[in-house]
């Protein structure tokens, strides 16, 4: 959206104009729903979060000071609403992440379960819907506090400081969780990529 369009829409939002609400939902709604759905793990819960977040944004448009793009503000409110909802969910017994991390011999060498290379490039793997589903499912298997950090840092593109602030933890904790989440994800993906080598039409 070009800046003049955004300022026009903002003027409509500030007047409480239904057409402006609808326009914002048309332009930004799909991307925000994708974010809310990823965070919540289902489109149904994602829609609930989006509804709550957008109603709040439209009612409190005065809180938007124009210091960022409108989408950035809407996205932040949506993610915050998702995080609050996740906190109120009955906390699952969070699995330990340690079994998904690499292990080492006494001399510091890593214990390798297999010495296979991952044959395909990430580009060709990601083009397969099947592989994208597997990646989503593996991310959903991460312990919740690690899954959230991975989503915020590596998909929603929040930086360490804003992730730490939203989660109420130190920046060092975010860095550690992100690194462990990536290692755990590598472990979870390994059997799919090694045991089911998919042939690529591009090779």
């Amino acid at each position: 959206m070009t800046p003049p369009d955004e300022s026009q829409i903002l003027a409509g939002l500030r007047k409480g104009d239904s057409a402006a609400f609808t326009r914002v939902l048309e332009i930004f709604g799909p991307r925000l729903l994708a974010t809310a759905t990823r965070m919540m793990g289902s489109e149904h819960d994602g829609q609930d979060v989006l509804q709550e977040a957008m109603v709040s944004c439209f009612k409190h448009i005065g809180n938007f000071k124009g210091e960022s793009a409108l989408y950035t503000w809407l996205h932040r409110v949506t993610v915050t609403a998702a995080l609050m909802k996740l906190r109120t969910r009955k906390r699952r017994n969070e699995a330990a992440i340690e079994p998904l991390l690499p292990t080492f011999h006494e001399d510091g060498h890593r214990v390798e379960s297999t010495r296979h290379e991952w044959a395909e490039s990430s580009e060709s793997l990601a083009q397969r819907e099947e592989m994208r589903q597997i990646v989503r499912s593996c991310i959903d298997q991460l312990p919740e506090s690690y899954r959230t950090v991975l989503l915020l840092r590596d998909i929603e593109e929040w930086d360490t400081a804003e992730t730490a602030e939203a989660l109420g933890v130190a920046q060092g904790v975010v860095k550690t969780r992100l690194h462990r989440a990536r290692q755990a994800l590598r472990t979870l993906l390994e059997p799919y990529i090694i045991q089911r080598p998919l042939t690529s039409s591009s090779q």
Partner: protein, 75 residues
């Protein structure tokens, strides 16, 4: 540097956050260790696959959801 230390530094290395000295030790170990090169490559693939979920097709909002949001915002 051991394999264990190298793996601890991976995210920092990829983010360009290591000091010149740490980076030199990291790359020196990497040049001699095929297991760590393999791990680094797989770690990057896992990160790339995650990043590529950003381009997931965005779902259309159901019309009744749009209506519910607009109606609630007008109240």
């Amino acid at each position: 540097m051991t394999c264990k230390q190298l793996i601890e530094f991976l995210s920092e290395y990829l983010a360009g956050g290591l000091s010149a000295d740490e980076r030199a030790r990291f790359e020196s170990h990497l040049s001699m260790c095929s297991a760590c090169r393999r791990y680094l490559s797989q770690f990057k693939t896992a990160m790339d696959l995650t990043n590529q979920l950003k381009s997931d097709p965005a779902p259309q909002l159901p019309p009744d959801l749009v209506k519910a949001i607009v109606d609630a915002a007008k109240k």
